[in-house]
Subunit: 337 residues, 2 copies
């Protein structure tokens, strides 16, 4: 039966116009080499003349494949996670997958709620930032049998696949580099470990390094409500300068914090690194442009996204490759420390 032209065309309409059955249209779209060129041409013409758009909800329902990948990140704004998301969309798009995005702040509970909402879409895969999840989330994910990639950290007990680097090791190595450069009293500044797990792992790496050299850690905790911002970096630097005249280097958990610290020093006319050295984490674009250029840890954020998506795609294509990838990091020594 023909339908009013005001309602969208269905596959059956395309089939009728091309003089074939619906399944042949379906094949022409999904596995073109199983359809003869002549028929394929007729179908293409019909599709164009009807403006046909396949209803993926119907396809998903029957085939149990949604071609959707869901990703959950803590935040996009002013963050290197945005690059990771771009890296993911890039690879996923190449393989015909689309990205359903959620941002969870730094709350495992919100993450859990988002995953619950996303699972109803039958995503073919899931990408999460971090390895700190609620117990219920882990249970739910195993039950759903969805391929999962965790990112931005490493752990011995991933849910499934993982693409990241060792925040602990990166911070440890940066701290050792600062020690090697001759700084005697190195402080660490980040948010509370339970508020942001990655920052917490970095703090632990710092503690390990100073302990190895028989020194006491000096830790400044950034107020949680202000977060990893330039402004809170400046505030924290002000506290360090006011409270601990003996500190000769500060290692910040994030480049924005470090940038704020540099600005605070500039405002006060304090020489960096002569009076106090500053190091950051992330190697954001601004790090190499600021004066003095920022010593920091380079993290391949975009590549983490690309690689996470690749692992997922490989799994979905039945190609079984690695399950855990350490993307590494790089200590970048510049002028600020």
């Amino acid at each position: 039966m023909p339908r009013k032209s005001s309602v969208p065309a269905r596959m059956a309409d395309v089939a009728a116009r091309a003089g074939v059955s619906a399944i042949t249209v379906s094949r022409a779209l999904r596995t073109p080499d199983k359809v003869s060129p002549a028929v394929r041409a007729r179908i293409d013409t019909a599709i164009r003349s009807l403006g046909y758009v396949p209803n993926l909800a119907a396809g998903t329902l029957k085939s149990q494949r949604s071609r959707i990948v869901a990703a959950i990140v803590p935040t996009l704004a002013n963050s290197i996670f945005a690059e990771t998301v771009e890296g993911m969309t890039e690879i996923l798009r190449q393989h015909g997958y689309q990205l359903l995005l959620g941002n969870a702040g730094y709350s495992p509970e919100t993450e859990e709620a988002l995953v619950a909402a996303f699972l109803g879409r039958q995503p073919d895969g899931l990408i999460l930032a971090g390895v700190q999840h609620t117990k219920r989330l882990r249970t739910q994910l195993r039950a759903a049998r969805v391929p999962v990639v965790e990112t931005w950290e490493l752990t011995d007990a991933p849910i499934d696949m993982i693409v990241g680097f060792s925040n602990f090791e990166a911070a440890r190595r940066m701290t050792l580099a600062l020690i090697e450069r001759g700084y005697r009293r190195i402080a660490f500044a980040g948010v509370a470990p339970d508020a942001e797990p990655r920052s917490g792992r970095r703090q632990a790496g710092y503690c390990d390094a100073v302990a190895k050299h028989g020194r006491d850690p000096v830790i400044f905790t950034v107020a949680e409500e202000s977060g990893l911002t330039i402004r809170s970096g400046a505030n924290t630097m002000a506290r360090v300068l006011g409270e601990r005249a003996d500190v000769d280097a500060v290692f910040f958990a994030n480049d924005f914090l470090a940038l704020g610290a540099l600005m605070e020093c500039a405002r006060r006319g304090i020489a960096v690194p002569d009076k106090v050295a500053v190091a950051g984490f992330g190697d954001f674009e601004v790090a190499q442009e600021v004066i003095p250029a920022l010593t920091t840890v380079r993290i391949p954020g975009r590549d983490i996204g690309r690689r996470a998506a690749s692992l997922l795609v490989d799994r979905l294509l039945g190609r079984n490759g690695e399950n855990a990838v350490d993307m590494g990091f790089e200590i970048v020594l510049r002028d600020s420390a």
Copy 2:
């Protein structure tokens, strides 16, 4: 018929366990007040004990409502668009909608391809950045009868709804402010107008303002491949200083460019604003922290996202409100100009 416990539970399984029919479960989930409290409680128990997750593909197929909103932005990385996306997810989540995200670079063709791919998901709405789209895209969207919100600009001929501000007017006002402050020879630096339409509109606003004062525009075009980055801002500033000693103020199309310019001046020991003034666009976080603090145009990026999502949600709920919202801008005069 009962199913193996290894396959996910369906609504019928929940219904059986709760001793009701499937439709009652459906109602308990979507319109709980139409189900008696006692039955609702039994259903809730059944859902939890089976770990039931509704299959939204099935629901979408029958109800023709996907509860998905698709958004396409040029880029997320290092960009204020990321805040807009966060604003959108925030509002959409409150109303049970999920965000399908695409990034199109600055290519209308990629945007068109993304929309085509997204439409198959039957999105309940679509949010686009900008108002420059291919003709085919406009046709396709009208045919699909999807509510559309364009953002970040204004136009007399929106596809449907629009939430933005006037890039032209914002740049014009900033230029006038610079003139008023006494700068005689003001240059503009941005990417080529056809590469980034928003930057192009800003350039036009600048030209209008200088022309009103009988002056000739001085335009520096940032190399397209490097884009709106700190580094290309520094390079552009170097060109300005080398080629146009008469220029006493430079208005950059973006805060990152302006930031790079400030850094280049610092490296060369050139006083800002005494020797040359610098203004930016966007009021990114770094603008108020850098030294000298950056004179710029504040754009409510997050609010644009929130408002765009609200307009869409209102439309979907049958509440017909405004179709065009000017979110305005604010000239922020700081130390750099």
